[in-house]
Subunit: 193 residues, 4 copies
DNA sequence: GATGAATGAGAGTTCATTCAT
DNA sequence: AATGAATGAACTCTCATTCAT
């Protein structure tokens, strides 16, 4: 079961971002999403196993696209510093331009039992891998310290950017998220050197 | 209503940490907490307005104690670097020694509608203030850059530590969280200089 | 929401009369009605907003039918006296033949907060209007006094009949309610003349 | 148990009229009455068996006083017509001057399972008896028809007055209830003759 | 594939009543 | 007699999920 593809699959996903961002995951009824997507309640269950699945699929689709786009950006960078800058900038700009996605990623996604959720951690690991690759590269290039624990550094980097996004997503969003890329990069790159 | 003090208040709070950490917020029934605390279901509602209230009160009590303890540590530091080290170390050690609290803080607490929750953000702001004070002090002492945006720096610092804790809380906790204090401090302090 | 029509709507209504009459409104659980109607608990809430709604809808359906039937009877009467007799007789006979409805109308219906209930007073007003029309007609025909306050007379008439029904509904119903129509009519008509 | 007398007994009763009239029987908590009476929750249960008991006792006290007062009035009447007029007038004036009692008598009292309630019907029967005595006397005096069924006539009389009070109690009480005594008496007395 | 009416498990919360002090 | 903290039974309503059409 659960087709996970097709025109209506994406219609439902799109409807879900909107309603989750507006009402929050728990206060959104499956029927709300169905109505927004213009399909019947039952139809949702042709494309998704259960409600949680919608949120997870949403994240997976977003994350896949995100990592893909990020990798394209990185391909054009000449060294690890440029790559780190690209990571920060791409992360902040991508979510800064998609407030609804940001809301879902930063807030709603955390409403699910994290303990079980392979579905969330797996796609996230791909992103983590990218960051860790950049750090390792920096060490090879001699730009970053060798006594750096790559995993810890990755946590610091991701955590820092993530918190910056969360603060913005929970705020009135009166400022441009992307404009924080420079300062954040500065803070992080020095730590690695 | 809602006494918010007394022997049973704390018994319920203690029972709540345990059950939330074990089953997660949403899968914990109020009656589970009551049983664990050795009181009747109704008694819970003498001390708390509603289920959500328990989680929030839990956080507030923890946070108040946390900030208080942190301030004591900082009082003994001679400069901002020592203070920053103290923040990182205190944060990681405190939660590292209390896995149940860590689980609740990092995971369960995010299960509530963040949009509404003054109850969560307010106590957190006190912690944020401490961090920002340390940074400002560092600038005054000439140890930290002046072109630093204090708020952004705070987000980076908090986000970094928070992510380190979250990864640990979601892991099998096979390593000592406190032992990451040094590396994390190193990464952060260089960013500020 | 609340479909308020369809096969199951009436099945639930029918089940409600029975259970309300048997156990009383407050002691009837929604699940009792559902079981009696042969539907699931949740189904009740597809057709009714809330429990109270069932009782009110019940009354509205009954009242609508009642007034309709009464109007048909009155159409065949040649003067206001015949009409008054018809009102008394129709009222007593209708409820006399439907003990369960009588129980609900006279007893259970009064278990709801009367202050709020438009839903109850509105349909009743239609009946009141019929009575008042009969009185006014009687005055025009010269059969009833002109110094009669129509509203007061209506209250007296309705109150009298209503009390007769209530006494019967609360009794063992050993006597035929309809047989009181004559005496009651006699008492009332003289008052009007 | 249940002292049913003493200073606090009446304080609770008085508090109950107020709160019942204000919030309705079902929405009044025992603790509301206790607070209004200035006693502890538990104290209520020294004087009353259960919540229902308060409402019933209230009615009994009111009814006893009512019938007593009515009997005094009747003692001064010279014939059954005067007595009937006294009944109507006394009933309407008494409740007309005590809106809170009226609310309780006409509305809240009916919120209890009438089927069981000896406690309500018993004191009411005393009033019924008074009315029936008046009618019987009228027949003896030759003023009222002999083919009158006394019980039915009593129901008509009581029902009529009761409805007049109920309408007033549920209304904004913009008119004086006692002023309806004349018209109501007129309507009723002619029926008896 | 699509529908949407029907299902029924599930739990938070209230509050009358009790009883140790 | 008086207190009021504690009890725990009771029940409505929601909503994710199913399945006959």
């Amino acid at each position: 079961m659960a087709k996970r593809t097709g025109e209506k699959y994406f219609a439902i996903l799109e409807a879900a971002v909107k309603t989750f961002a507006r009402y929050g995951y728990h206060r959104t009824r499956v029927s709300d999403i169905a109505r927004e997507a213009g399909v019947a309640d039952g139809t949702v269950y042709i494309y998704f196993e259960k409600k949680e699945d919608i949120l997870i699929s949403l994240f997976q689709e977003m994350m896949t696209q995100f990592v893909e786009g990020l990798r394209q950006q990185l391909a054009e960078c000449r060294n690890c510093n440029e790559k780190l800058a690209a990571v920060v900038s791409y992360h902040l700009n991508t979510l800064g331009n998609r407030p609804e996605q940001a809301k879902v990623t930063q807030i709603e996604l955390r409403q699910i039992d994290q303990t079980i959720n392979e579905g969330i951690s797996q796609p996230l690991l791909n992103y983590f891998k990218v960051i860790e690759e950049v750090i390792a590269e920096g060490q090879k290039e001699g730009l970053y310290r060798h006594n750096l624990n790559i995993r810890t550094a990755r946590k610091v980097i991701f955590g820092a950017i993530d918190e910056v996004v969360t603060c913005w997503a929970m705020s009135k969003k009166a400022y441009d998220l992307g404009s924080l890329a420079g300062p954040v990069y500065d803070l992080l790159v020095r730590g690695l050197q």
